[in-house]
Subunit: 371 residues, 2 copies
Amino acid sequence: MHYGMPNPRPSGDSAFAKAPTIKEVAAAAGVSVATVSRALNASGPVHGTTSANVLAVARRLGFRPNLMGRNLRTTRTCTLGVMLPTLNHPVFAECLQGIEAQAQSQQQVIAVSATGYQVDAEERASERLLQQRVDGLILTVADAAHSSVLDKLDAEGVPYVLVFNQPGVTSPSLAARPFVSVDNFLAGKKMVEHLLSLDHQRVHMLAGQFQQSDRSLQRFLGYQAAMSAAGLPWSPPLELPFTTCDTRRELQDLLDRRSPPTALFCSNDQLAMTVIRDLRDLGLRVPDDISLAGFDGVHMGELLSPVLTTVVQPTAEIGRAAVDLLLQLIDGECYLGPALLHHTLRLGGTASRRTQEHQAAFASPPGPRTP
Amino acid sequence: MHYGMPNPRPSGDSAFAKAPTIKEVAAAAGVSVATVSRALNASGPVHGTTSANVLAVARRLGFRPNLMGRNLRTTRTCTLGVMLPTLNHPVFAECLQGIEAQAQSQQQVIAVSATGYQVDAEERASERLLQQRVDGLILTVADAAHSSVLDKLDAEGVPYVLVFNQPGVTSPSLAARPFVSVDNFLAGKKMVEHLLSLDHQRVHMLAGQFQQSDRSLQRFLGYQAAMSAAGLPWSPPLELPFTTCDTRRELQDLLDRRSPPTALFCSNDQLAMTVIRDLRDLGLRVPDDISLAGFDGVHMGELLSPVLTTVVQPTAEIGRAAVDLLLQLIDGECYLGPALLHHTLRLGGTASRRTQEHQAAFASPPGPRTP
DNA sequence: GTGAAAGCGCTAACAA
DNA sequence: TTGTTAGCGCTTTCAC
C-alpha cells in the first residue's frame, strides 16, 4: 500500500492547504467515502479499476489518513505505552531500543514516559497514557508485587507486560502478572558460584535499594543461595540509593572490617563501574587486590580494562519479547506465564583467582587517599 | 483538577465495564454534556455547585476523558513526535530523557521512533507520526541541509526542531531550519586549541562519517581552523562508520606513518573510548604515549581512569530547550533563530602535555600485538 | 461492488 | 449559567 506518501507539494494550492480528508478523496475520485475506505484498507470488496483509481487519486492529493478518526471509530490506537524509570540508563535505553524496533515492525507506535521510580509519576503517566487510549502498556516498576498502578491496570483490564520486574517469586499467591526478564535469582547464584570457583570465600554484595528494585532482591537471594550451598556465611547486602555516584565511604567501611571481602558482587553494572573507580581511588586494583562482578552486561563494560565480569541480560531482546507478548494479550490471547530469557556470564577480567598476593593486599591494607 | 483518577474499582459493575463517556457522566450528574465538558476543562462559565457536582460524579464513575474524541475535535493531540537515530546511544538517550521530562511538565506526550540514520526509516517514521497527527516533531537527521524528510515537513508546514544538527552553517542560503545544539565548530576549535596548548603539534582527527553527521563535519572544521590559526598543518580526518567497534587497524596505519600524531581528537566519546581500548591493545598508554580527547561529555567518561578529556554538551538541556522551542512554534510564534547552548571543556587526564618520554614512544613504536 | 447513513467521544458555536 | 446541536475524520453495518 502506498497511499499516504504525499508529493512534496500536495496539490497546486498556495501556502499550506489543510490535509485532505477521505471525503475529498472520495469527491475527487467520484466515489463514496465508503469505497475509498475499503480501497485504502483492503477491508472490503472493491472493483480492481475502482481501487486503482482511488489509490491514484489519494496519492495525487497527498492524502494521509487521520488516525484520530480511525482510532475513535475502531477504539484501537495501535499505540503502546512505555513507562520506564529512566531513559538515560544504558539498560533501559537498550530495552527501549528493542521495544521500539519490534513495535515499528508490528506497525505500532510507542508513547514513552519516564517515572524515576516515583509512584506519583507512575500514577500520572499511566493516567495520561490511558487517556490517550494506548492499547497496552510495557513498564518497569519498583516492586511489581506492590504497585498501585498495576492494581489499577488489573482492575481495569488493561493489558500490560512488565520488563525486568520479577514479581511472581516474592508473592506467588497474587494473580500472575505478565513479565519478561531473566531469572535473576538463578543468574545471581551462577555468578556467585563463579566467584566461589575462583577460590573466593568472603564475597559481599552491593546492591541498589531493594525497595526500588525487586530484581535486585532476587539477585541477592541468588547470592545467598550460592553462599549457603557452599557452606559459606553470607553477609547482608550493602544497599545503595539508585542515584549513588560515590561509594568510597561505604567501600572503606567494608574494607576496614576484620575479614574484608576478597570479591564483590554488584547488583548492576553501573554500580560495578562506579565501585571500580572508587576502589582505584582508595588504592586498590581490580582484580589484583579485589575481584568484582556486575550484572546487566552493558556495552561499556567491554571497553573497560580489564573487561567487566558480569551477567549479560538480553536487554534488547527483553524489549522485543515484551512487545510480542503484549500484542498477544491485546489480541485477547490468554496469558500462559512469564517469559524468562536466557542470560550468559561474561567472564571478564575483573574477577580473578584469589592468590597469595591477593591475600597480602589485605594483610596491610593501604590507607585511604581521599575518603 | 482531579477528574480522571478513577477509583480502583470503577462503579460496582462486574468484570470490566467499559470506560464511561462524558455522556454517561452528564446523565449521572443530571446535566448536559456541554456542562460536563465545561466543568472538566474549566473552559466556560459554570456554576460553582454544578461544577463541584459534575467533578464528584466524574470521579465516582472513574471517568477518564477519551483524548481521541477531544483530539479529533480540536485537531490538536498534545503529542510531540521524536525521531532519533538510536535510543541506545548515551547522548541520544540523555537527550530523550530531557525531552521527556520537559514534555511531561508541559502536559505533552511523546511518540518516539528510532531511525538508525536510514532515510527510508525516517520517511516511514515521520509518515506514521504525521498520521497520528503529532503537533510537531523533534528530530536528528544525518544531514539537515539535505533531508527529504525536512523538505516534506517544510512543505507541509509541520513545526519541527532539530537537535544536535547544525544545518545553517553549511548552507546559509536555505530557509533557516530551527535547531538546538552547541556550536560544534567553536567547541571543536577550542578543544584542539587546548591540545595545542599542551605542546602537541601533530593532532589528528577521528570522526564518524560526515555523510551521517553534519555536526561531525563542523567539529572537523573547528579542528582545521585551530590548526591553521596555529600555523600547523592539518590532516584529513579518519572517517569511521557509525557502527565501528574495532579501530585497531586504522590506528595502526595512523601510527605507522612517518610523523604519527601525538594527540587524537575523536568526534565523539563513544569513539574515543573505543580508541583508548584499542590503543591499549596496541601497547600504547593514554596519555603517556599519546593524548586523546573526545566530544559529548557522556557520564561514562568520568568513570574511566584517567578521566576522558572531552567537550561536554548540555545534552539533556538540549532536549528540554527543543521542547520549549517546538511548543513556541506550534503556538504560532515565529522562529527567531537557533538556540546554541553553552558547552564546556572537561580537562580530564587523557590529554596531557607532550613530553620527551612521549616523543620517545614514537622513536621506537611497539609492534602490533593483535592487529 | 457500491453508497447512504449512523456514530465513535468530544468541543464549541449558538440559543435560550 | 446551561442546553442543543453540528460536526472533527473515519469505519462499518445495511441496503441496493
